[in-house]
């Protein structure tokens, strides 16, 4: 029920179909959802105009292939980060360290699987455990020591890649383990497993925050920390938890990235991805000033960013244009969302209707 809180009648809880109903209501024309969805559709249409085979899906050796599948698959890490980042931003925080956490968790997985006899499942758990530790570190700095989130997470952002390099001893740690590789390369029912895993994480996080009171308390603390304190809310615990969730999301993203290329690159894995995640959250309409958050729209935001990147890639435009095109498109989306920017057009439209 993340995205329809403006509706006047409270929705009865329907846990089984919460995502379906969520998407249904998004499509039903919720104003807030309108612009991100519109942007996504326009970009996909643009991609289709540039390369007509954009929406075609082929099945090769039991695995679906196609640009659309590619967007979801390549976008999975950003989507995961955006999920965690949404919650952090809702508390008025920010997590700059997620890119570095990807590198750490990838390094942990790669080194453990190639140098020890541990089962790949234990390795996965330990890698996620590293993500939890990173989240705890951030959370303790922010919640207990009251350090500004920007600075607190900047520390791990800087030091994280150094830690990852120490773990891999400065090499790109390559490995060979079919079980572990399944995360990034595997296919389930023809769908890349990374997509399924991301969807599962989304559902779990969604249920975790909306079936418990965590979502409400996050919004309360983000919207007015002092009043929340007076109301008896344990803001420290809430803050700690969102950074841990962000750490877990980053760890899973790290596992996907690392197992996809069968190697941990401490310098480049997840590089600048934290900025894509922040952008995805903003496109989704969650304000950096905290309070209300929109988990599903952050996912849409992440998919928008990936669609642009994939679109540029398939269009055959020289890769040197990538970043500029991406920036222009995102700027256009943000303008579209700005009421100030829309106002003159809305007025002109109304005037036209009046005269007509």
């Amino acid at each position: 029920m993340t995205d329809q809180r403006t509706s006047s009648t409270p929705a009865p809880p329907r846990p089984k179909s919460s995502i379906l109903s969520s998407l249904g209501r998004l499509a039903a024309g919720n104003r807030r959802a309108l612009f991100p969805l519109l942007a996504l559709v326009l970009i996909l249409l643009g991609n289709w105009l540039i390369s007509p085979s954009f929406f075609s899906i082929r099945v090769v050796e039991g695995r679906m292939l196609g640009s659309i599948i590619d967007i979801f698959n390549r976008g999975a890490p950003t989507v995961l980060l955006a999920i965690g980042m949404t919650l952090v931003i809702a508390t008025k925080g920010i997590d700059l360290s997620v890119g570095a956490v990807i590198a750490i968790c990838g390094a942990v997985a790669a080194v453990l699987i190639s140098t020890t006899d541990l089962s790949p499942y234990v390795v996965m758990l330990l890698s996620v455990g590293a993500g939890i530790l990173c989240g705890l570190w951030n959370g303790i700095l922010v919640a207990i020591f009251d350090i500004q989130p920007f600075i607190a997470t900047l520390i791990l952002m800087v030091v994280g890649r150094g830690i990852a390099q120490l773990i891999t001893e400065g090499q790109i740690a390559v490995f060979n383990n079919p079980t572990l590789e399944f995360i990034g390369k595997g296919t389930l029912f023809g769908i890349p497993f990374a997509i399924i895993l991301t969807a599962i994480v989304f559902v779990i996080v969604y249920l975790f925050i909306r079936r418990t009171a965590l979502g409400l308390l996050i919004e309360s603390v983000g919207a007015n920390a002092r009043a929340s304190y007076y109301a008896g809310i344990n803001a420290r615990l809430i803050t700690l938890m969102v950074y841990v969730i962000s750490g877990i999301c980053a760890a899973i993203a790290g596992l996907i990235i690392t197992t996809d290329i069968k190697g941990a690159d401490a310098n480049n894995a997840g590089l600048w991805l934290e900025l894509d995640a922040i952008l995805a959250v903003v496109i989704g309409g969650t304000l950096l000033s905290g309070g209300r958050f929109y988990l599903a729209l952050s996912v849409i935001g992440a998919l928008i960013i990936q669609s642009i990147q994939t679109g540029i890639f398939v269009s055959g435009l020289p890769p040197t244009f990538n970043l500029i095109v991406q920036a222009v498109v995102i700027l256009a989306i943000l303008f579209l969302q700005s009421e100030e920017f829309r106002r003159p057009f809305v007025r002109a439209w109304n005037r036209m209707r009046k005269t007509a």
Binding site: T6, S8, G291
Partner: protein, 528 residues
């Protein structure tokens, strides 16, 4: 603005300042300075203002009165260009105007000073006065000139302060006058004052009124919004009463008796607020057995050791002047600040309360003084605001089901007469009185045994005021222990079984039974 830095003491009129101020200005009956005709505004299904005519003449103080939700704020915001009107006209000196923003209104000559002073607290007084229009020299800001001009300007307001000091180091009253000085200096036809005296003590109010009278003498039209009826009669020349978005009357203040005014505002007679007698008080006070007992709780620089007890079914009033330690006492009890001495007993058992969360677990609740900052969570819905403390008490794992949330919200909305179209409206969009009720509802939903109310009736209209006092008495009758802080002595005397009098962050005395009266409280405060 350059030519405006001058004393308004007679250079134009030849009269010295004091005489001008002392003189009762007659209201000029010529063309209105500002006129609204048939002003109408609708928000969704709510008709905020319908067909309101309003006239402001030069050199008059025109008070706009009404309950919360009567349309006072909407009227101001239409005049100052914050909102666009749906219908009607706004005329400035006979000419239609259509300000699109407060900035444009300012340029036309309409300045507004809000209750929450819209200046930059971390900048100096002079910087604030000249913000955005600093005097320049060789292209650089000429701070020396700015300081000199600010000093001269404030002197005309009889304010001799160090203009280079940070604004926030001055009292609210001084900040208010600085805001007025800035506004009038920029454009000086109409001054709108929205609840200017809400956080001022009696002496500061008189200081402000002196300024208002002087501005009046300059021919400025002043639109005043306030909840203090005594002040209305003290300073205003004319009164417009709004109710439910409509104008129900425009009268000369001198010709409108107070009782008539109140019935106009409410559209009904006041609830009786003096029900309980001294005899009743004594009986109730002894019945319950102490719920809370503090022994010498204190905090350095905040409060001297204080002993206090509150029984079930008892209302203990905390009386004292501003800054006497009333709020500080409440904060120590509720764990907002940790006490560094003394002990607290709840139901006879010694407890340590170091945070509001722990206080809530012991069955405490507290409606804080600063509703906007410490109370309401503006972005969240009315429903979410109401269930918040209850949810916090249950812990994050045990979420209240949506249906249960709605049920509680609807109960509270009905029980406390909260005016809102539905429970999903953001609480920040409600009027002050309704926000206060939402916070009260938040605590009632958590089913506390002990409730602290810090200025529960401040800044809300007469009707909601009576309702809240009614609620307080009911809660007490149901056996709740209450500690109530209020600046309005009549109110404290009315509902308290016992009154604790504070001065200079110290408990002076305790009044019980027949001894409780406004006179005795004031005598206690004044006593050496």
């Amino acid at each position: 603005m350059r030519q405006r830095v001058r004393p308004f003491t007679g250079r134009q009129t030849g009269l010295p300042y004091a005489e001008l101020v002392g003189e009762k200005m007659t209201v000029q009956k010529n063309t209105p300075l500002l006129q609204t005709q048939n002003l109408t505004k609708r928000f969704g299904s709510v008709q905020a203002l319908s067909g309101v005519d309003f006239n402001l003449y030069p050199g008059e103080v025109h008070a706009v009165l009404g309950e919360n939700g009567a349309g006072k704020s909407t009227l101001i915001k239409l005049i100052t260009g914050v909102y666009r009107r749906d219908a009607g006209e706004i005329l400035l000196e006979g000419k239609p105007i259509d300000p699109q923003s407060p900035h444009e209104a300012q340029a036309l000559g309409i300045s507004t000073v809000y209750q929450e002073i819209n200046l930059v607290p971390t900048m100096s007084v002079a910087e604030n006065i000249f913000l955005g229009r600093q005097p320049r020299r060789f292209g650089f800001i000429d701070m020396r000139a700015a300081n000199a001009r600010a000093r001269a300007l404030l002197k005309t307001y009889h304010l001799d302060i160090d203009v280079t000091r940070t604004l926030s180091t001055f009292s609210i009253a001084v900040q208010q006058i600085v805001a007025i000085a800035r506004g009038v200096d920029m454009s000086a036809k109409i001054l709108i004052l929205d609840e200017p005296t809400a956080s001022l003590d009696a002496q500061e109010v008189q200081m402000l009124f002196t300024v208002i009278r002087a501005l009046k003498a300059r021919g400025i039209g002043i639109l005043l919004i306030t909840h203090f009826l005594d002040q209305v009669y003290q300073i205003s020349d004319r009164i417009t009463v709004l109710r439910n978005g409509e104008r129900v009357g425009e009268h000369l203040t001198a010709e409108l008796p107070k009782m008539k005014l109140i019935t106009l505002m409410l559209g009904r007679e006041l609830l009786s607020e003096t029900e309980s007698s001294g005899a009743e008080r004594a009986a109730v006070g002894d019945a319950g057995g102490a719920f809370l007992r503090t022994e010498g709780i204190a905090r350095r620089g905040m409060l001297q050791p204080i002993d206090l007890s509150v029984a079930r079914g008892e209302i203990v009033g905390l009386a004292g002047l501003l800054g006497s330690g009333r709020t500080e006492t409440a904060q120590l009890i509720f764990g907002v600040a940790r006490s560094d001495a003394g002990s607290v007993q709840v139901k006879g058992r010694k407890v340590a309360i170091g945070s509001p969360r722990q206080a809530v677990q012991h069955g405490f609740g507290m409606c804080p003084e600063d509703r906007k900052v410490e109370g309401i969570i503006a972005d969240l819905s009315v429903r979410e605001n109401i269930i918040l403390a209850m949810q916090a008490k249950r812990g994050w794992l045990r979420a209240l089901p949506a249906r249960k949330q709605e049920e509680i919200a609807q109960q509270m909305i009905a029980a406390l007469h909260i005016v809102t179209p539905d429970s999903s409206k953001p609480a920040g969009e409600l009027s002050g009185g309704n926000q206060q009720k939402v916070i009260l509802a938040r605590w009632l939903a958590s089913q506390p045994e002990f409730l602290i109310l810090d200025e529960p009736t401040r800044g809300i209209d007469v009707g909601a005021h009576a309702e809240i006092i009614h609620i307080i008495k009911n809660l007490c009758a149901q056996g709740m222990a209450l500690l109530v802080i209020s600046s309005e002595l009549a109110e404290v005397v009315d509902y308290s079984h016992r009154v604790v009098v504070l001065r200079d962050r110290q408990k002076l005395t305790e009044l019980t039974g027949e001894d409780i009266s406004e006179d005795n409280i004031m005598r206690a405060i004044a006593e050496q």
